[in-house]
């Protein structure tokens, strides 16, 4: 078995080799220079928030009172944040079963997320959705599907609405490499390309769908290359390089906002935890240990931290302070969530149908 994303180090995207396909008309200059320090710090903070938010789940999950299937994105934080830092609050985001990072990056409240995971009334879905069906309309997340690929056409739909209304909103669809297997991926890209809709397709290629390697599902792992068939730009990115993602996504979002059509971004990354739950799946043989080790060496948060320290934007003390601050925030969020009551029994019968506003 060829290890995913590991052996072929040279194929890892770097700033000089991000674009593929003959339709690369978009400028792809990844340079830290034209990003403000404040933005860089904010990107780091959000990535740390996501990481620590999920680490707390790992901590408490053993108690068995957070009864929801958690799909953790530890190791993939750069993509959620790199993309969402380019978005306005009312831009649409559709995510997947692995949604915590996208939710937090887009501005969801950690306490309400925890409450939802605990099945409480103060959760974003009043306990009806759990971890897989995030819905935070006030930050542009209008429900989440846990059906693989299910959310992709929805993002095309909100983009269609924006296009018909002539508003400036951009839609972003996050999905995994597994979703590329599905026909709906094709149908969505075809339609978005046809109508030149303001949507950005962000594929988080972590090389696995549950335990199925991409080599058991697709004839090649160059997901960006799929863009060619739709005559839209496709880019392969190092998904562990937050700044690279930030810049590439910035270009794609700009393109969408300028009504120039959709873009496909393939962000290559790796999930550190098992497909679902708080454990590591190399332990039961789902994936090779060395693959994980190699990717952990390239922790997206450590990479960014180092570069911020190296360039003098932050120092160790500031980072420590940030850690402390986030810890405090998340601890209160968790406590608040646990104090939230369960929904009433009769709530089960509510919300089947919209009754008007």
């Amino acid at each position: 078995m060829e290890a995913n994303g590991v052996k072929s180090k040279s194929r890892r995207a770097d700033s000089a080799d991000l674009s593929i396909g003959p339709h690369d008309t978009m400028e792809q200059r990844v340079s830290n220079m034209n990003t403000s320090s404040a933005t860089l710090v904010e990107i780091l903070r959000k990535m740390m928030l996501i990481r620590m938010f999920e680490e707390k789940i790992v901590d408490v999950y053993g108690v068995q009172d957070m009864k929801t299937p958690v799909h953790l994105s530890i190791g993939q934080e750069a993509i959620a944040v790199g993309v969402c830092e380019n978005l306005e609050t009312n831009d649409y985001v559709f995510t997947t079963h692995r949604s915590h990072g996208h939710g937090l990056a887009k501005g969801a409240d950690p306490g309400k997320l925890y409450a939802e995971f605990y099945g409480r009334i103060d959760g974003y879905c009043k306990g009806k959705g759990g971890s897989m069906h995030l819905s935070v309309p006030e930050v542009g997340i209008h429900g989440t599907s846990a059906i693989v690929g299910g959310g992709i056409p929805l993002a095309v739909g909100t983009a269609l609405a924006s296009s018909m209304r002539g508003d400036e909103r951009v839609s972003v669809s996050f999905f995994g490499d597994g979703a590329v297997d599905e026909g709906v991926f094709h149908e969505s890209l075809n339609f978005a390309a046809l109508k030149k809709l303001p949507v950005v397709f962000v594929c988080e290629n972590n090389f696995y769908a549950v335990s199925s390697p991409i080599s058991a599902r697709q004839p090649h792992d160059d997901i960006a290359r799929r863009a060619e068939g739709y005559n839209i730009p496709g880019f392969r990115l190092d998904g562990n390089d937050a700044i690279a993602v930030y810049h590439a996504a910035g270009q794609a979002v700009k393109r969408a906002r300028n009504k120039e059509g959709p873009t496909l971004l393939e962000c290559r990354t790796y999930r550190w935890k098992g497909h679902v739950g708080p454990d590591c799946d190399y332990e039961n043989g789902c994936r090779p240990r060395f693959e994980l080790d190699d990717w952990m060496d390239r922790c997206p948060i450590e990479i960014l931290k180092k570069s911020l320290v190296r360039t003098g934007i932050m120092n160790g003390i500031q980072i420590q302070a940030l850690v402390g601050e986030i810890h405090g925030q998340l601890n209160s969020a968790l406590e608040w969530a646990k104090r939230s009551p369960y929904p009433n029994k009769s709530d089960v019968f509510k919300d089947v149908f919209f009754k008007g506003k």
């Binding site: 879905c125 009806k128 819905s135 739909g157 609405a161 026909g183 089947v352 149908f353």
Partner: protein, 347 residues
């Protein structure tokens, strides 16, 4: 009442209601008029479907609309039912009111995932924070060897899925009125038409109006037996009632009009009166809408039932192509007469 009746030909209509100044138009025209008025009144509404803008115009029901409202609001689309249903849901989530149109109901299995796993569940999963104002029109086909993949009636599938409303107008009046309600409802609505109703004429007011979703209607009052008829079966039921009248059997015809929510009360009240239940649907028998109706009666009015329940349906087989077999496949008023007679005289 004029709005309860449909006419199999226009001349028949002309000799009755039009003399009273009532306007008669076909089912096809009723649908088109509703779409026209809805598109005109609400710019959030748009139509999407394979061929909505072509000269045929979905058996005439969208004819001329693209010329009037443009190809963006009357949008031809790729043949990609699942993805495009997702697109429609997304647009609906964003506040638009798409009407997705399928020329045959057989194409809905293509998009079951988006209908069943997404549209139907979105409001609930989001704890009520998001809703999906989406109307999905589909037309049940029949005849000329349409065969197994072009004549299915799948309302029972949607009946079983919480979060969907299922509407089956049987008259031009209801077609227009229910379409208005469907677009205003704010939920995913399966709006199911029948190709064989398209040419029938009935009274349809020119102005916009709505027929409430969830309310059935008594199409004919009667003492002896409750005959629940769905969609095109109300035509056959009406014919059967005339024959049965001559045999001295007084049939009460109930058209539920909407299958979800079902106007169970109306059916129960009727059965309490007649003590007999016959159900005629335009679909295969097993697991059909008729089973649910019968079961509800067995649950709530069991003690009133004086004879065995009877169902009139297509047999539990795919649809055959040959005209010789289609003839056997599709039950008509004779089958209803037989079932009602046996309900009254037998069991």
């Amino acid at each position: 009442m004029p709005w309860t009746k449909i006419y199999t030909d226009k001349a028949e209509f002309d000799t009755t209601f039009s003399r009273e100044g009532l306007r008669g138009i076909t089912y096809r025209e009723a649908v088109r008029e509703a779409l026209f008025q809805i598109l005109q009144a609400d710019e959030r509404v748009f139509l999407m479907g394979e061929g909505v803008d072509d000269p045929g115009g979905i058996f005439g029901s969208t004819r001329g609309l693209s010329e009037k409202f443009g190809k963006e609001r009357v949008m031809d689309i790729p043949i990609a039912e699942n993805g495009l249903t997702g697109v429609a849901i997304g647009a609906a989530i964003a506040g638009m009111k798409p009407i997705f149109i399928h020329m045959r109901m057989d194409f809905l299995p293509m998009c079951m995932d988006q209908i069943v796993n997404h549209a139907a569940k979105w409001h609930y999963m989001s704890g009520g924070s998001v809703h999906v104002p989406l109307v999905i029109r589909s037309i049940i086909g029949r005849g000329w060897g349409s065969a197994a993949q072009h004549s299915q009636a799948l309302q029972a599938l949607f009946l079983h899925i919480p979060g969907l409303k299922v509407v089956m107008p049987g008259t031009p009046y209801d077609a227009k009125g229910l379409l208005f309600s469907a677009v205003q409802d704010g939920n995913p609505i399966m709006f199911i038409e029948h190709r064989w109703l398209y040419d029938y004429t009935g009274y349809v007011p020119e102005e916009p109006y709505s027929v409430p979703i969830g309310k059935g209607i008594v199409r004919r009052e009667g003492r002896d037996v409750t005959l629940v008829a769905l969609s095109h079966m109300i035509v056959e039921a009406s014919k059967a009632a005339l024959v049965l009248e001559k045999e001295g059997i007084d049939v009460e015809i109930i058209d539920p009009r909407t299958v979800t929510p079902m106007d169970t009360q109306l059916i129960i009240e009727s059965v309490k009166k007649t003590g007999r239940l016959v159900i005629a649907d335009v679909a295969c028998r097993t697991g059909g809408v008729g089973a649910e109706i019968a079961c509800r009666v067995a649950e709530s009015a069991h003690s009133y039932l004086r004879s065995a329940v009877q169902r009139i349906n297509f047999p539990d087989t795919p649809t055959p192509a040959s005209p010789a077999l289609e003839e056997v496949y599709y039950p008509d008023s004779n089958a209803i007469v037989a079932a009602v007679s046996s309900s009254v005289n037998g069991g």
